[in-house]
Amino acid sequence: MLTIKNLNVFYNQIHAVKDLNLELNKGEIVTLMGSNGAGKSSSLNAISGLIKFSGSILFNGDEINKLSPDQIVKKGIVMVPEGRRIFPKLTVLENLLLGAYTRNVTNNIKAKELEEIFELFPRLEERKRQLGGTMSGGEQQMLAIGRALMGKPKVLMLDEPSMGLAPIVVKDIYETIKKIKGQGLTILLVEQNAKKALSVADRAYVIENGQIKYHDEARNLLEQDVIQKAYLGG
Amino acid sequence: AEKSEGKEGSKDSKKNNQDAIKIGWFGPLTGPTSTDGQISLNASQLAVDQINENGGINGQKVEIISVDDQGKPQEAAKGVQKLMNSDKVAAVISGAYSGPTLAAASLVQKAGVPMIVSYAKHPEATKGGDYVSRMIYTSDVQAKALADYAVNDEELKTFAIVYMNIDYGIESQVALEKEISELGGNVLVSKSFNMGDTDFNSALSAVKEKKPDALFVVAYYNEGASIVSQARQMGLESRIIGIDGLDAPKYLELAGEHAEGTVISTSFYKADEREIVQNFVKAYKEKFNTELSITASQSYDAVLAIKDAIERSSTDREDIAKAINSTKDLEGTSGSITIDENHEVVKPIVFMKVENGEFKYLHSKTY
C-alpha cells in the first residue's frame, strides 16, 4: 500500500534519516521503533510532506514525493503528530470538523461520522463545546486521533501517542488503536514504548541513527536479545 | 554655442566651465516635502540658465550644484560641507525648511560662506553672524500685515487660528494673536495640528462652536486645503484667511470649490504685469511644464540677489556676503527687494483672494 524507498532527510548538516526503506501492507499495523533522535518523526514528517527529503514514496503505486501536505492528506494518508497539536482556541467539535476539511461531504454524512467518533471516544461528546486547549493531555490525544479519523484515512500514522500520558490513559489509547485496526485501517505507529508497540503491531522496523537496523514480525522481535537490551531495558 | 549650453543646464556645464561661478543649493529632493525642494531647485536653475544665456555674471558662467537634504538637519549639514569644501561654491541658497536651514546656517557662518534663505522662516536663521540673509519676510511681518488686513480693512472682530506645529506655524500663531489683540480683535480659539495630518474635524468642531468672524489657516497648501474643505463641509461659514503657505496651485486643486473666497498674503503673484514676472512665469512653464508658486519666486530671486551682489563686488565669499547685505531696491519677481541691517528682506506683501478657482490680486503694501 505504502512503499518508501531510499528516504533521506537532512537538517542543514544533520543527516537525520539515511536510506530508509519501509513497506506497509493494507490492513496491518506496522511499528517504527527506535531511541530518541533515531529519525522516526523525521520519517513520518517526510511522508506527510511537511519536510524536504530525497527518495521515493509510493502510495498504491503512485509517486507522492512531490505532493504538498494537503494533497497527501487528500490521498488518504493522515498523521497524528507528536505532541498532539490540537487547535487550542477552537472547540472540540470544530477541531473534529477540521479533520474532514479536504472531503466534500454533506453535513449529514459528517454528523454520522461524528457519531462514530463519539462512540469511540465518549469523552469527546461530553466536551464538544469545550476549547481544545483546555482539555487534559489524554483527552487531547483522543481528540487528535478522532480528528485524524474524520479525514477517513486509508493510512493512519501515529507519532508517539502515549508520550507523557498517565498509564491508565495509555491503556485507553491502545485499546482504541486495536479497535481502529479492526475497522480495516492501515496503521504506521511510532513508539518509544517498545513493549506497548510490539503488543499491538503485526510487524516492526527498528531504526537507529536514521537507518533501519532490524525488521521482523513483531512477536519475533519481542524475543530478540539485542532488542531486549537496547529497547526493553534488559 | 552659448545658447545650447544654456539649455543643457548644469548637467554637463561642469566639464565645460572650469572657472564658472558655482552656487550651491540644498533642499529636500526626497521625502514628504520634496515637492517644495524640487520647485525651488527648478526656479534657481532657471535663473542661472537665464543668466548664462545673457552672458553670465561679468562674463563668467554660473553653475548650480544641488544636494538633497531629505528634510533632515544632518543631511543638510553634510551637504553644505560638500558644497563649501568639495565644490567650493561662492554662495549657498537654502531651498529647505527651517531645520535643515538652521543646521546649515551655523556651518556657513563658521566657514564664512554667504547664504540666502529662500523661504524658511525660523527667526534664528539669520542671527548667527553676517553671512546669512533671507529672501522671505518673517512671520512677524506677515502677521502684522494679516492682522491689519483683517481688523482694519475688513473690520472683522473675532478669530480662530488653526496652525501647524512647526516653527513657522507657532511663530505665526503667536504673532497673529499679539497683532490682532493690539488692533482690538479677539482670538477665540487656537488649535494646532501636525504636518501630514488629514483629519481636522475635531479641531474644526471646536472652532465651529465659537462661530468666529474669520478663521486663520496657518498651514501649507496640503493640510490647508484639507482644513478649508473640512471646515466648509461641516458647515463653518467664517471667512478664511491664510498665510503664504497656501499660495500654490495645489491649494486650488485640492480644496476646489471650498477655496472660494480665501484671502491670503504672499510675496508674489503671477498676474503681476512687470516684465520680470511675466518672463519668469513663461519660462518656468516652458521649461518644467508645471505651475509655479511662491517658493519658486523666492528661489529665483535668491539667485538674482547673489548675481546682483557679485556684480557689485567680486567672487570672493566675504565680498559677496557684504554685498548681499547691502542689497537695495533690487527688482525681483517678488517686488523690490532690500535687505535690512538684520539680514531680513524688506519688500511688499501682496494680498490675493480666490475667485472662480484662481488667485486674484487685491492689493500690496510694504510693512
Binding site: Q13, N36, A230 | T30, M84, G99, N165, I170
Partner: protein
C-alpha cells in the same frame, strides 16, 4: 582626487556621522541583538542624549565635556526607566511599545518648552580643548576614541557573565529566572546601557551639528538603525560595524560621485531609497542572520561528531 580632498571637511563630516551611527547601532545591538529586547524606539535615546547636552551647554552654559557626560548619565537612567515596560511585555508587544515610546519622545521634543518645541535648540557650542574649538579632524579623532571605548566596553560586557545572562533571557526568560538570573535587573540594564550608547551618539551629534530639532529623532531614524544592525547581523559587534558602514556609505557614494548628474536622473534619491529597500529584502532573504553570516550561505560548517552519526549515547 588628491590627498587634500580627503581632509576636506565634507569627508570628515561623513566619517563623523558614520561613527555616530555606529555608536547608535552598537547600543541598539546590545539591547536588541544581545539581550533580545526588540526596540523600535532607539531614536528616543539618541534624541535625549542630544537634547540634554545641547540644552545644558547652549542654554545653561555648562562646559561641553561635562554636558556630554551628563547626557550619558541621563540617557542611562532614562533608558532604565523606559526599559521598565520590558519587564511586563514580551516580543512583539515590546516592539510596538518601544515604537510608541519613540513617537512619544519625538512628540515631546517637538512640543515641549524644555526642548525649544518646534524651534529646536540653536547655537550649540563646540567642545573646547585648551581653548581651541574641537572641529573637523579633531572632532573625528574624538568620536573615534569614543567608538573604540564603546567597542571595548561592549566586548567585555557581552563576553562576561552579564552577556551570558542576556543571551539566556533572550532565548528563554523562564529558564533564565529559574537559573537564578534576576531578569528584571538585566533587562533594565540592557536598555540602560544601550540607551547610554545612544546618549553618547546623541551628544556627539549635537555638538557636531550645533543645532538640534525633533526632525533628527523620528521613527525613520529608529527603523534605519535597526535595519542596519539586522542587515549586519544581530548579536555581533562586527556585524554592526559592517551593516552600518555599508548602508550608510552606499547613499553617500551617490552624493560623492554625483551620480544624479552623471545619469541624468531626476528622482535619483528615490532610486537610491528603492535600492536600499531592495537590499534589505534581499539580505533578509539570502542571509537572514545578516551579512556577517554570509559566508555560511555556501560553506556550511560541517561538524565531524554529527556527521559520523555518533550522537546517540543511548543506543
Amino acid at each position: 582626487m588628491s590627498l587634500l580632498d580627503f581632509i576636506n571637511p565634507y569627508y570628515i563630516d561623513i566619517l563623523i556621522f558614520l561613527v555616530i551611527n555606529i555608536l547608535l547601532g552598537l547600543g541598539l545591538n546590545l539591547t536588541t541583538g544581545f539581550a533580545g529586547q526588540v526596540s523600535l524606539g532607539h531614536a528616543a535615546f539618541y534624541g535625549i542624549g542630544a537634547y540634554t547636552s545641547a540644552i545644558l551647554s547652549a542654554n545653561y552654559g555648562v562646559n561641553v565635556w561635562i554636558s556630554m557626560l551628563i547626557a550619558v548619565v541621563v540617557t542611562f537612567l532614562l533608558g532604565a526607566l523606559l526599559g521598565l515596560p520590558s519587564l511586563r511585555l514580551r516580543d512583539d508587544f515590546l516592539a510596538i511599545t518601544t515604537l510608541g515610546l519613540g513617537l512619544v519622545a519625538h512628540s515631546f521634543f517637538n512640543n515641549s518648552q524644555l526642548t525649544g518645541g518646534a524651534y529646536g535648540i540653536n547655537s550649540i557650542p563646540a567642545p573646547l580643548f585648551f581653548g581651541i574649538e574641537v572641529e573637523n579632524v579633531g572632532y573625528l579623532l574624538f568620536v573615534v576614541l569614543a567608538l573604540i571605548a564603546a567597542i571595548y566596553i561592549m566586548r567585555k560586557i557581552t563576553r562576561s557573565r552579564i552577556g551570558r545572562a542576556w543571551v539566556t533571557i533572550r532565548e528563554d526568560e523562564t529558564v533564565a529566572q529559574s537559573m537564578g538570573i534576576n531578569t528584571m535587573y538585566y533587562k533594565v540594564l540592557a536598555f540602560a546601557i544601550g540607551a547610554a550608547f545612544a546618549g553618547v551618539a546623541g551628544a556627539l551629534f549635537a555638538h557636531k551639528i550645533y543645532f538640534v530639532n525633533a526632525d533628527s529623532f523620528t521613527f525613520t531614524t529608529s527603523a534605519t538603525i535597526l535595519s542596519m544592525i539586522v542587515i549586519g547581523g544581530l548579536g555581533s559587534i562586527r556585524g554592526t560595524l559592517l551593516g552600518v558602514t555599508l548602508l550608510y556609505t552606499i547613499p553617500e557614494l551617490f552624493h560623492i560621485f554625483d551620480v544624479g548628474n552623471l545619469l541624468n536622473l531626476n528622482y535619483l534619491d528615490n532610486y537610491k531609497m528603492i535600492l536600499y529597500g531592495l537590499l534589505m529584502v534581499l539580505v533578509m532573504r539570502y542571509s537572514p542572520k545578516g551579512l556577517i553570516d554570509i559566508k555560511n550561505i555556501k560553506t556550511k560548517k560541517i561538524n565531524p561528531a554529527v556527521k559520523s552519526g555518533d550522537q546517540n549515547v543511548g543506543s
